[in-house]
Amino acid sequence: MEKRVFFRDPVLPYLLVAPQIVITVVFFLWPSYQALESALYVEDAFGFSRQFVGLDNFRAIFADKVYLRAFGVTLVFGLSVTVLTMALSLGLAVAADRVLRASTAYRTFLIWPYAVAPAIAGVLWYFMMNPTIGIVAYWIEALSGTEWNHYVNGNQALILVIIAATWKQISYNFLFFLAGLQSIPRALVEAAAIDRAGPARRFWTIIFPLLAPTTFFLLVVNLVYAFFDTFSLIDATTNGGPANATSTLVVKVYQSGFVGQDYGASAAQSVVLMVIVMAMTVLQFRYIDRRVNY
């Protein structure tokens, strides 16, 4: 079914799409081009002169141990956030789906974190986990005896940003899982109950497979979120430290460019990020229509 709208005025349709095109060009295409271009130059710190160096910037970053370590950090961070988020939000959604149908208040509370700005979420966790004044840090020490100080301990810092990013993203996942669960016809679950499947078996053999499209979609969304969308959260919470323990690839782009004033390296890194995003998008579009759909 094709629905076409015909305009009598030949200019009007272009005017209607113009805002979107302008936004795309100004905020997306142009910066991308700039990044691509800058990646091929070395610029002095004050921006007075620059010199074409070809792929030297790329050679430099891939030789940089700090940058390679950021890959590892990003991978650990991204996978942990994705797995944690999806497991927790699926659990919450299943619980909500059971009690819900009546109470929307529960759902509203679970959605709230998504409305919190990333930087504010970062500050929130910064205060809660602060080794001197943070209440959660105090609890951890009181309960387990371990000293919590993510300023010194790199692993603790990484755990902190993982928890903060997960907390932030759970609401979004929860919403999609809940919608997915509610779109599964009740009769299917009832039929399985009559077919002698217990609650756990019903979940794993009927509900979970039918959620596959939602799950796959969220998997990609969460990976993209964790890899590229967590800069402000990490920056506000740990600032990438200590000793680069929480420097993911995006944080590294910022540090090289705005802190280190090495625009060429920063641009080269963002080109690498671009390639990764593109690869993930292709993956998503290639597989989302196949396999996952039953």
Partner: protein, 365 residues
Amino acid sequence: MAQLELNGLGKTYAGGVRAVRDIHAVVEDGEFVVLVGPSGCGKSTILRMIAGLETITEGELRIDGIRVNETEPGARDIAMVFQNYALYPHMSVRGNMEYGLRNEGRPRAEINQRIDEAARMLQLTALLDRQPRQLSGGQRQRVAMGRAIVRNPKVFLFDEPLSNLDAKLRTQLRAELKALHRKLGATFIYVTHDQVEAMSLADRIAILNGGEIQQLAAPLDIYRRPANRFVAEFIGNPAMNILEGHMSDDGWVLMDQGQPLLRLPSPIADRAGQPLAIGIRPEHLHPAPLGEGQQTHALASLQVKVDFTEHLGADCIVHARLENGATVALRLGGNARAIAADSPLSLCADPADLHLFDRQSGQRI
């Protein structure tokens, strides 16, 4: 194979709505019972209570004498066919059929044998490796039945299984269902809103309204002796004609504007002067030659004006209007000639074909 006992079964929802009340029935081993009624009458709720998908708030349900109120659906040894088939969309036809058996932990060989048997019975053998979305509505319905059959349950439950199919397929599957029941000899409980399905399939029909059983009897008994006005009007198409009237002191049944309808052979003394509803089926009204519409003891008679005539091939339905505005329908044979609109017509009926109901309670007199 099982006997089913419903002792005062009732359902009150958390909001206080009482959907079903005081259902007493015994379904015998191998019987085919159809629950029929208008939407919201509680028929599906009763079926779901039997299945265990809905908790029972009042009364007791027994299968083969054992109370199962608190038993999980899977442990009741029943199978259910849903209105929308409820096939597992991510499993093949075979996967759908073997799911229950695998949950029971049956050995592979037995599962395969049972599936082959059921597939042959339902002509599904060629479709076993298809996905549900590749099947037509009728095929899906067969798979849903196959999934129930392989389980070899004590009781089969059907929740409006044919209502999503087109008319022709419905007729065909109705016949297959009847044959299946005969072959399996199992206890069937079947919910529908379609009176034709109820009449053609059931050993006994339970007619429901407002969450209560109005009448539980064999199809023809229900048709011939409806227990109350609701049943009389619900079963039969066109519906039974109901005329408002009352009983005179000397045993005449009078219509409300005073026209005497007939004289009862033996007047019911305690009903003298009381309001009545007089029911008569369309096929029991016959046209009488004009001028012969005299009241006699033998025939009840009515003067009507024809509204319009419907020729249905085998039948011819004439819709007419009484002087007081009430409408009646009469069924004539397929060879009847059309009667011009507005022409006067004299109708008569055998008093034995009349059904009298108390106008207040609606109960049959």
